[in-house]
């Protein structure tokens, strides 16, 4: 297998180049500017003033960042459990029954909605005196008290994202070759045992995709918080990405906002690296 025709070697780089160049030119390069700004004081107007690591030192002093970090962790764990877990459940329940695709339609529909649309649908539900209050017979403002507001938004997120995860899991299930399954069936495996010992290991490649994407998305959670609570009240539902956005754009403290961005990016990059490395050695 190692033996290759020499001509192959030359063009392999040509095949990854478009992907690598696009990503490097349009996503990495702009971020270099942010990385530079994190070492400066900058208001978006005057020239950036070099201040070394001051912004990063300030990170450790910032009490609000603790709340953001806690909420971000809730989002990461929550995203793994709810949209991913329930997405898997729906995929497994529906992939091989007749008309399974139609059972999945209700879960796909919410994904079509834009961020602003999502807020318009859910605000009246989670509002004090809203639909959820009346259904559950309670008197709570779901978007108000921390950390329940983060949990409430996590449910909204689950509502919107579950369908996508289901879709990817279904692709994973469909790509499983039938021979090992038939062999296992002949050996008398069925139901949970068949799933746990044969199907689950075989769908690992796509499971890794879903979990990997959820990890990154959870760490970068922004849109849904911004449209539903703007991180409030009193910053208690801020995530790291919301803190970054507010410092940079709302307060025009580009330097500090960039430092939060760099920290968030390093954490996200590191987490992805560790996760993916394990996945690669496993497959």
């Amino acid at each position: 297998m190692r033996a290759r025709a020499p001509m192959l070697g030359r063009f392999r780089y040509g095949y990854v180049a478009p992907a690598a160049l696009l990503v490097a030119g349009l996503l990495y390069a702009p971020f270099l500017w942010t990385a530079y700004l994190s070492l400066t004081r900058y208001d978006g107007l005057e020239s950036p003033a070099w201040i070394g690591l001051d912004n990063f030192v300030k990170l450790f002093d910032d009490a609000a960042l603790l709340t953001s970090t806690r909420n971000t962790l809730i989002w990461v764990v929550g995203t793994m459990v709810l949209p991913v877990g329930l997405g898997l459940l729906v995929a497994v329940l529906s992939y091989d029954i007749k008309g399974g695709a139609w059972f999945r339609v209700p879960f796909m529909l919410p994904y079509a909605l834009s961020g602003a649309g999502l807020a318009m649908v859910w605000s009246p539900i989670l509002s004090h005196d809203g639909v959820a209050n009346r259904l559950l017979g309670v008197d709570t403002a779901f978007l108000q008290d921390s950390p329940y507001n983060t949990l409430a938004m996590l449910l909204v997120w689950t509502w919107q994202q579950l369908g996508v995860n289901t879709l990817l899991f279904v692709v994973g299930l469909q790509s499983i070759p039938k021979e090992p399954i038939e062999a296992a069936r002949l050996d008398g495996a069925s139901g949970w045992r068949l799933f746990r010992h044969v199907i689950w290991p075989l769908m690992r490649p796509l499971t890794a995709v879903v979990v990997g994407l959820a990890l990154v998305a959870g760490l970068k959670t922004f849109d849904i918080v911004w449209v539903l609570t703007q991180g409030g009240p009193g910053r208690n539902s801020e995530t790291l990405a919301v803190t970054m956005y507010k410092e940079t754009f709302v307060s025009s403290d580009y330097g500090y906002g960039s430092a939060v961005a760099v920290m968030l990016t390093v954490v996200t990059g590191l987490a992805s690296y560790l996760y993916l490395r394990r996945q690669v050695t496993a497959t």
């Binding site: 063009f11 040509g14 095949y15 180049a17 478009p18 160049l21 696009l22 490097a24 030119g25 349009l26 390069a29 208001d43 978006g44 107007l45 005057e46 605000s123 009246p124 989670l126 509002s127 004090h128 005196d129 809203g130 403002a141 779901f142 978007l143 108000q144 008290d145 609570t229 703007q230 991180g231 409030g232 009240p233 009193g234 910053r235 208690n236 956005y245 507010k246 940079t248 754009f249 709302v250 307060s251 025009s252 403290d253």
Partner: protein, 416 residues
Amino acid sequence: MFRSRVATLGAAALVLTACGGGGGEAPQKKTELSLYNDKGAWTKYFDEMGAVSKQSIGLSIKPTGYTDSAQYQAFIKASFRTNVKPDLFTWQTGGMLAEIVKQKQVADTSAVWQEAIKAGDLSQDLMPYYTVDGKQYCVPMNVAYWGMFYNKKVFDQYGLKPPQTWDDLVKVADTLKQNNVKAFYHTSVLFSFVWFEQLLAGTDPDLYDRLSTGQAKYTDPGVVQVMERWKQLIDAGYFINPGDKTDPADVLKNGKAAMVSFGSWFNTSMASRSMKAGTDYDFFVIPNVNPALPKTSMIFESGPLCSLTKAADPDASMRYLKWWTTAEAQEKWSTSRGDVSANPKVAIDDKALGAVTKDAGSGEYRLVNRYFEATPPPILTAALDGFSKFVTEPATYMEVLQTIQQAADEYWSTHQ
């Protein structure tokens, strides 16, 4: 294989061009001006204005609307460093305006102001908000007065009248409370500053001004007293739950709260819900908390329309700003949105607002710049967060004031 190589080269070329570039600009004669704005929802109204101006002065406008003002401001600031130059753009008064004037980016409109004041198209009272170091910049894109919108049917039902004094207002709230109706609307998102601003301006407008320029502290006794008064009103049960996410216009319409404090642009919301001014709802000026003050404090908001010194056709941009202040333009602009105008000659359809505009024009009120414009961005951010915490947990007011003051200390230590 050949195709893949072409694709590679193509991508590389694009990335490379993205690093070079830039071109010289020659002065142009423009007939259509780009108008960047953070009022994405007003595109329709800007388009209508463009049609009128084309008729009138041969210049039309092409609005490019943003929906998030923070992102919009970042974009405009960044555009100063590029060759993408808006011909016209909306901005904020206060520190935000001074900041970009200092960068020598904004075109001087002193001549436009002088002529407009002479012709009676702009009032002298507005000038200070558009003046930096003795010169004027931009013209008023819109103006709005803040006061109380109230549900007339609810008021009639309980025999209530618009209050003349602060005590009257509290009495009204109390009557409503005894009838299990919430008096006031407030929110924890964005407009959390409204009651702070109103109470402070109505108690001590000088303190309000000093606070916004860093000469007073949020922990000063006068400010603390305002927070305590606000807390009393919340504790008395006059406010709806701040966790209520209902649109304020629907709150008022459905009588969920009898009164909602907003700028006069709130009329647009009412009109789009088929609410009629004078029969379904009405507007009153909020009386001062401190009856000893010589004039009633009125919160006032004005958004500038600006042009750049390095605009593609500076002459055309300036002509447009000049036209914008005229009665012809303002008539159209204010009637289409049902709001008030910066031009005193424009008649306002809405009776209550018409009266307010007239009184404001004749110096009846002490105009107080809205908190949102008056406060420097980093302090404002801390304050909006603080007040949103306060409305959900009123007992935390001291902690909230200290947090805001911390941001203020940090800001004023590097500014002035």
